[in-house]
């Protein structure tokens, strides 16, 4: 026993020395780990963005919407040479996100995006320490400009608008006059979407009943799927839902053959036969404007909202689902009404 223990210890020791040797070579590493900091005189330096988001880049929901937008902007601006971005995903711990924001800011990124309303408080602390860096955060309207902070942009999504359009269609398509909604917790973006959706259903079909279910979590896929089952059991023939845990609910909708309306990102690929339409967030509108303002030297103070009118919210209809013409018409009218301001989407 004794010899084998010492054998293992010596193996550990070799590993340790190996790692020490590795550490000894670290002086060379900073350049390797951060190739962006090579401030060689290039003709035009690429625009550099750092992104902090609460869930994964492939969540088919909130985080993916901003990631996709940055990828799009990168192609527009000529790839790596014109636009670079790095990200920290799954930063659901507010405190860790704060450390990340501060770290990115001190590395001299042109723009640091804190993609989550929960980061606002930390950003308010950090932004004044880095007056030469521009920050953006959302979804919120607060740029802190009234507190004398001038380098923060704010953005939000008027998700009630797409919710309203989805709702109008749902109200017309339902035969049982019962529509079900699966949400995470009753706040923020989810609340906006659901309120808008409900208003839309009521507008097109006052007879219909909208049942709402909150799962109390953004990650409980199993409960979200059972919530969908419950809605169908209660007579719903159309479902919608928001946040990343609804993927479970979409599966149930497909299996039981009821229609689904998506939001945040396109969810058509999950169930092509039953998804009617998605409200897709396209943050490029906001990002383009922020980037051009930064290039002109304005680092903050402006609040944005993506809406149907400015093409930040896009209604993405599933081509594989044949929408009755009258319903399509009603949706188009709703979009028009919202854009012109003749329809209010929140009760």
């Amino acid at each position: 026993m004794k010899t084998s223990a010492w054998m293992k210890i010596s193996i550990l020791f070799v590993l340790f020395t190996f790692l020490l040797a590795a550490c000894a070579t670290t002086p060379a590493t900073p350049e390797v780990s951060e190739p962006e900091t090579t401030d060689e005189p290039v003709v035009e330096e690429p625009f550099r963005v750092a992104l902090i988001m609460p869930s994964a880049i492939n969540d088919l929901a909130f985080s993916q919407s901003i990631y996709d937008a940055l990828v799009k902007i990168q192609t527009e601006m000529g790839g790596e040479s014109g636009f670079q971005f790095v990200y920290s995903e799954n930063m659901f711990v507010v405190d860790d996100a704060a450390a990340a924001i501060r770290d990115y800011a001190s590395q001299g990124y042109d723009l640091v995006i804190a993609h989550g309303s929960q980061y606002g408080s930390s950003l308010r602390e950090i932004a004044p320490d880095f007056p030469e860096v521009s920050f953006a955060h959302g979804t919120t309207v607060d740029t802190f400009v009234d507190e004398g902070i001038t380098n923060v942009f704010a953005y939000e999504a008027a998700s009630d608008q797409g919710g309203y359009v989805n709702g109008v269609m749902a109200g017309l398509l339902t035969e049982s006059n019962v529509v079900g909604v699966v949400g995470p917790i009753e706040t923020g973006d989810a609340k906006l979407y659901i309120d808008g959706f409900k208003a839309g259903v009521m507008a097109s079909n006052p007879e219909a009943q909208v049942n709402i279910n909150y799962t109390g979590s953004f990650s409980d896929v199993a409960l979200a799927s059972e919530a969908a089952n419950t809605h169908i059991g209660a007579g719903a023939d159309i479902l919608t839902g928001t946040a990343q845990m609804v993927v479970g609910a979409i599966g149930v909708a497909e299996e039981r053959g009821v229609l689904w309306f998506g939001t945040q990102s396109s969810q058509t690929s999950l169930a092509p036969s039953i998804v009617v339409a998605n409200q897709v967030y396209d943050w490029t509108v906001v990002l383009r404007d922020i980037i051009s303002l930064i290039k002109e030297g304005t680092l903050g103070g402006k609040a944005y909202a993506i809406t149907l009118a400015n093409d930040g919210l896009v209604m993405d209809f599933n081509p594989q689902y044949t929408l009755p013409e009258s319903v399509g018409q009603a949706a188009a009218e709703a979009i028009q009404g919202i854009e012109s301001g003749s329809i209010t989407t929140l009760p």
Partner: protein, 382 residues
């Protein structure tokens, strides 16, 4: 003299750094994962160390991260010594934070220092309450504490969600259509003072002082003796006239109280308001769980938990900066953390075996630490 020598031998120094070797072995395994991810492990680990300890600011961040781990860990030292497995740190932190935040939001006309003191006490009490419930249920209703603490964590999260989107919501948010679930910001007078111009706050000092206090409590007071006796041998303790049930409730209550204080310090030292993303870890950063690991790395000794928390905090901070520097998915870091925990806890066997041998030769029987680790927690049945 012989005793003295054996206590400070090379061998016991080796005991102390054994966890470091184990962690390095885990990192060695992680290196292969990094290679598979297409990242250079040497550069990656350099970034990790740089991020955790590379500058004064990094050290401050690491310390800040270690504070809740240490506080929760202190509570764990108490509970585990009494043989109660408290995995309710997450919920206890949340309730403590809620209590503390209520003080700061309601007593706005009191002087700053007083509000801070009251808030810390409130956090302590809130955690104590949430810890006493499973303690009481275990002692008097035989409800296993693993079950009740898991359930109470979930209940605390929903309670927080309700309060933050309802009664405690920031008045500014209440007026908006998108009601972000957060409280109003605490008055700047109520923030815990910063020690140096980083995010390092007074909480670090409080935590270290409390670690010393818990050391005295456990090893130099009657209460501490009783708690340890109950954990070591409940039947003998009862025979010896100790009220076992009462000690279990007290141990659990104290354990929760330290977690509650950790929650209060997170609010007053870092976030200055409560915000929820719907989950426990969004607020606690999983300190309620990680504190257990820190305490066990520290051999369930309050003073050992200080360096253990710091090292674990460094891991967490370094891991985040590794994600930033190399764009390694955060999932890798979670997996690596898991490997480190498994390797370190597995390496314990060598230390125990050597101590066992040493004990046989030197016959040091009063080494309480050894006792505690040779006999890990069993179910105390009152």
């Amino acid at each position: 003299m012989k005793q003295f020598l054996s206590k400070f031998s090379v061998s016991s120094f080796f005991d102390a750094i054994l966890p470091v070797f184990a962690a390095l072995a885990a990192f060695g395994l992680g290196a292969f994962m990094l290679l598979a991810l297409g990242a250079n492990p040497i550069t990656a680990y350099a970034a990790l160390i740089e991020g955790a300890l590379g500058s004064w600011n990094a050290v401050a961040e690491t310390t800040v991260k270690a504070v809740p781990l240490l506080l929760v860990g202190l509570g764990i030292c108490i509970a585990f010594r009494a043989n109660v497995i408290n995995i309710g740190g997450e919920g206890q932190m949340i309730i403590g934070a809620i209590f503390a935040t209520l003080i700061g939001l309601n007593f706005t006309d009191l002087p700053g220092w007083l509000v801070i003191v009251l808030a810390m006490i409130a956090g302590f009490l809130g955690g104590a309450l949430w810890g006493a419930i499973p303690g009481y249920l275990k002692a008097y209703f035989s409800v296993n504490e693993i079950l009740s603490t898991v359930m109470l964590n979930a209940i605390a999260v929903q309670l927080m969600n309700y309060l933050l989107r309802g009664p405690m919501i920031d008045p500014a948010q209440a007026e908006l259509a998108s009601k972000i679930p957060q409280t109003a910001r605490l008055d700047p007078l109520f923030h815990l003072p910063r020690l140096i111009p980083t995010r390092l706050h007074l909480g670090a000092l409080i935590a270290v002082l409390l670690a010393i206090a818990v050391y005295f409590l456990l090893f130099h007071t009657t209460l501490g003796y009783r708690i340890r006796a109950v954990g070591y041998n409940p039947d003998a303790s009862r025979y010896g006239g100790i009220r076992v049930r009462k000690q279990i409730v007290i141990a659990m209550l104290l354990s929760g109280a330290f977690a509650g204080l950790a929650g209060a310090i997170q609010v007053y030292g870092l976030n200055y308001r409560m915000i929820t993303d719907g989950s426990a870890s969004g607020f606690t950063g999983s300190a309620g769980f990680n504190g257990i690991v820190a305490a066990l790395f520290g051999q369930l000794h309050p003073l050992g938990t200080i360096p253990a928390s710091f090292v674990f905090g460094a891991m967490l901070v370094g891991a985040n900066s590794l994600q930033r520097a190399m764009q390694v998915p955060s999932a890798f870091i979670t997996a690596l953390n898991g490997l480190v925990v498994v390797f370190v806890v597995s390496s314990e066997i060598w230390r125990r075996r050597r101590q066992h041998r040493r004990r046989l030769t030197a016959r040091i029987v009063e080494d309480e630490l050894v006792e505690a680790t040779i006999k890990p927690e069993t179910e105390a049945q009152p």
